[in-house]
């Protein structure tokens, strides 16, 4: 890096975290004010009412825009609120074309909320470019995928899908929660909207909820801002502060967590009671070379593996770890474990669970900052309970 073109890690610490001019405070103060004094009647200052704008939120949004390489970004109360904002760009009769490997909450939003507004959805395998191309219809106005799919860890060919979308005049948005802007920046690959559940790696400490959208087009930003301000699902100042604070260590966290995840994936791969491991860092993963092109040497810290066991046995393994905490969510310094079939993807219809490979033996782990040895030993003894 150089002073004129600071690196990602430097920008994560400094952009949006300028010294407070009033006091010299090295960390900007948190503005809890709901409203702001105006220069005069009918003369508006930069901030008027906290839903429309708040200095602490602006600081976070500037950091994120810089890290994503976008023109601007928006912070929402949750990741779902951020996706909902995107779907509110659509009108009755429009269609969403979404990947089949998406988060259960997005699946639920598209199928059970958007349909009430007359917006349809169809799901295709987003790793199959021909399938995407043939699924595009004149009514398709939004394409939605996850850069690293959940829980299959499928990898999207972002440049190719972006081109398909652009050629058809369709907006292409991705959820990059598993990728993080430290490892993968979709806007650089032609994606229109990048979304994060900031609750995960951006915050990183399991202590705040948040969602973000970043875009590289100013007029698209204006439309999204209008919707956010009109509908109001903004992120609160304390969470904005915690997120800004968490983002300062994002790069070091995700790289360390990725390295441990890689070691765990390699260890699981040769475990006799594990039938398969889904991790894009493994050469045999179908998305590996794509992931290496898009992400470089780190592949994220989410690992899915399948046990040679039934639903109850798998649940038992998830319940018997001591370091891995049985919980949904992911991305924090604490390692988590869950069974997609009964937890994160329980809101999928049973038929869709089968169709999209969410088998009963699947286990998803979110690798935290604990040491590899400790995490391996924990998994080892939990899996050992299977054969007892």
């Amino acid at each position: 890096m150089s002073i004129n073109k600071p690196s990602f890690r430097t920008r994560a610490v400094h952009v949006g975290n300028e010294v407070d001019p009033a006091t010299g405070a090295v960390v900007a103060p948190i503005h809890f004010a709901s409203t702001f004094r105006q220069p005069g009647a009918g003369v508006w200052g930069q901030y008027d009412y906290s839903r429309s704008g708040n200095p602490t939120r602006t600081a976070l949004q500037r950091t994120l825009a810089s890290l994503e390489g976008g023109v601007d970004s928006l912070a929402f109360s949750t990741g779902m609120a951020a996706i909902h904002c995107v779907t509110m760009l659509l009108s009755p009769g429009d269609m969403i074309l979404a990947g089949s490997d998406i988060y259960g909450g997005a699946y639920r939003l598209f199928h059970k909320i958007c349909d009430r507004a007359g917006i349809g959805v169809n799901l295709v395998d987003f790793t199959d470019l021909d399938a995407i191309a043939s699924a595009i219809r004149p009514e398709t106005k939004l394409m939605w995928g996850e850069t690293i799919g959940n829980p299959q860890m499928s990898i999207l060919d972002l440049p190719a899908i972006s081109k398909l979308a652009k050629d058809a005049g369709i907006l292409f948005g991705v959820d990059n929660t598993f990728g993080t802007p430290a490892l993968l920046r979709p806007l650089e690959h032609g994606v229109d909207i990048v979304m994060h559940s900031a609750t995960k790696y951006l915050g990183g400490h399991s202590d705040c909820l948040g969602g973000t959208l970043a875009v590289s087009d100013k007029s698209l930003y204006d439309q999204l801002y209008f919707i956010q301000n009109a509908t109001g699902a903004v992120l609160d100042p304390m969470s904005c502060f915690l997120l800004s604070r968490g983002i300062k260590t994002l790069d070091v966290r995700i790289r360390a967590q990725s390295e441990t995840a890689m070691k765990l994936a390699e260890w699981l791969k040769v475990h006799p009671l594990v039938s398969r491991v889904l991790y894009p860092g493994l050469e045999e993963h179908p998305g590996h070379s794509l992931a290496a092109n898009l992400m470089g040497e780190h592949f994220g810290a989410m690992v899915t593996f399948e046990l040679r066991g039934n639903k109850a046995q798998t649940a038992m393994v998830c319940q018997s770890t001591k370091l891995f905490c049985l919980a949904v969510s992911l991305g924090a310094v604490e390692s988590l474990i869950e069974q997609p079939a009964t937890m994160s993807h329980a809101s999928y219809a049973a038929a869709d669970r089968d169709r999209f490979g969410i088998t009963d033996g699947l286990i998803r782990i979110s690798v935290g900052l604990e040491s590899f040895d400790d995490l391996r030993d924990d998994l080892e003894s939990a899996i050992a309970s299977l054969s007892l």
Binding site: T23, G24, V26, H31, F32, F36, G45
Partner: protein, 386 residues
């Protein structure tokens, strides 16, 4: 007072035009240049430097507390105990003596008799309200007279005119811990008391969600105290300072309700056949009633009572039967709390010491929150009938 509580101490025009003081989490504050640093070091410019020496949230809430207390200056600490320790450590040296009225918070007593003693400071305790004894205990080494008003848990109120007169006659400074009174009910500075102490954890914070302490006095008297805090480091966090400032905005409303609940609960208990004795300065039967009535606006939310013909076990069953009040130490929050001093704070005391401190086995201390008065009374009524 409500207007002061809402506005005093805060900047009229805050950063970004924000209506409320932003929370400054910064541990350190930057200087534009060496010149700017020199202007600060030379004392030409007042500003922040490092979190231990001050923080904008701290200044703002300290100004508000000083205004509410009618004091020139206030210093906020990480807890009430840190505040009294900060004051005494700054004002006393080896060979100095202090005199306490003996009804006092047991940790204040412990700090003076066990810890200040190690630094050669001598603590005398005289019977609460016995000004002749206090006067007689003063000698050339006496540096401070200390009392609570009202005291905890007996709610004895000190005649502040007499208290100050004893100090002034000998040129000895006075300190009142007015935690139970709050500046809404009692303003000791107006009586000439030198220092007013509060555990701001109680009524000032008011929501059982923060710890804080405050010392009020003149800027000159507090200068050395402030400097010592900068060295010892018992400052509060920006988060707590923000919550404290926020809590103070409803201070007057809360105090009105605490006073009202305290008085009604005390009157109810006073007429209850199962209650032996009620300690509440608002009752004419309380020995301090005259003093309290002449110097206080209200009597607070704390009520202490003893249960008739009950041993400690019967008494604890009443405590356990309360459904609204929770069993916990502390007081002064919006939630009512109940405790049996024998079990809560004096469990490890010898029976002789408990007798000396007036803590009987059948004593219950009730901190009225701001719940509905009738609900609190109905709950106590059912608990007493167990």
């Amino acid at each position: 007072m409500s207007t002061q509580a809402v506005h005093a101490g805060e900047l009229r025009q805050k950063s970004e035009g924000a209506i409320s003081t932003p929370m400054y989490c910064a541990s350190t504050f930057t200087f534009e240049s060496t010149d700017a640093l020199l202007r600060f070091v030379e004392g030409e410019e007042e500003r922040e430097e490092y979190g231990r020496y001050g923080n904008p949230n701290e200044r703002s809430v300290e100004r508000k507390l000083a205004a509410m207390e009618g004091a020139e200056s206030a210093i906020v600490y990480s807890s009430g105990m840190a505040a009294i320790v900060g004051l005494l450590m700054s004002k006393l040296s080896a060979g100095d003596e202090i005199i306490f009225f003996d009804q006092c918070y047991h940790r204040s007593r412990e700090f003076c008799t066990k810890h200040l003693a190690r630094f050669g400071v001598v603590t005398h305790q005289v019977k609460t309200g016995d000004f002749a004894a206090m006067d007689a205990a003063i000698n050339g080494r006496t540096k401070m007279l200390v009392s609570e008003s009202p005291t905890n848990p007996h709610l004895t109120c000190i005649d502040l005119e007499q208290f100050v007169a004893v100090g002034k006659a000998h040129g000895v400074e006075t300190l009142i811990d007015a935690t139970l009174a709050t500046p809404f009910n009692l303003r000791p500075i107006e009586f000439g008391v030198d220092y007013v102490l509060h555990s701001a954890t109680k009524y000032l914070g008011g929501h059982n969600d923060l710890l804080a302490g405050v010392i009020c006095g003149t800027a000159e008297q507090l200068e050395s105290v402030r400097n010592l805090r900068g060295i010892l480091g018992s400052v509060n966090s920006p988060h707590n300072l923000y919550l404290l400032e926020r809590g103070l905005k409803t201070f007057e409303l809360r105090m009105e309700r605490h006073n009202q609940n305290g008085l009604h609960v005390a009157q109810f208990l006073d007429s209850h056949p199962k209650v032996d004795r009620v300690y509440y300065p608002g009752l004419t039967s309380h020995p301090s009633h005259q003093t309290a009535a002449s110097q206080m606006r209200g009597y607070g939310g704390l009520v202490t009572f003893t249960v008739r013909d009950a041993d400690w076990k019967k008494t604890s069953r009443i405590v356990d039967a309360a459904k609204i009040a929770r069993i916990a130490p502390s007081l002064g929050g919006v939630e009512s709390l109940i405790e049996q001093p024998l079990v809560m704070s004096y469990y490890n005391c010898s029976p002789e010491d408990r007798q000396r401190f007036g803590i009987s086995d059948n004593m219950i201390r009730f901190s009225c929150g701001i719940e509905n008065t009738e609900d609190l009374i109905a709950d106590l009524d059912q608990a007493l009938s167990q």
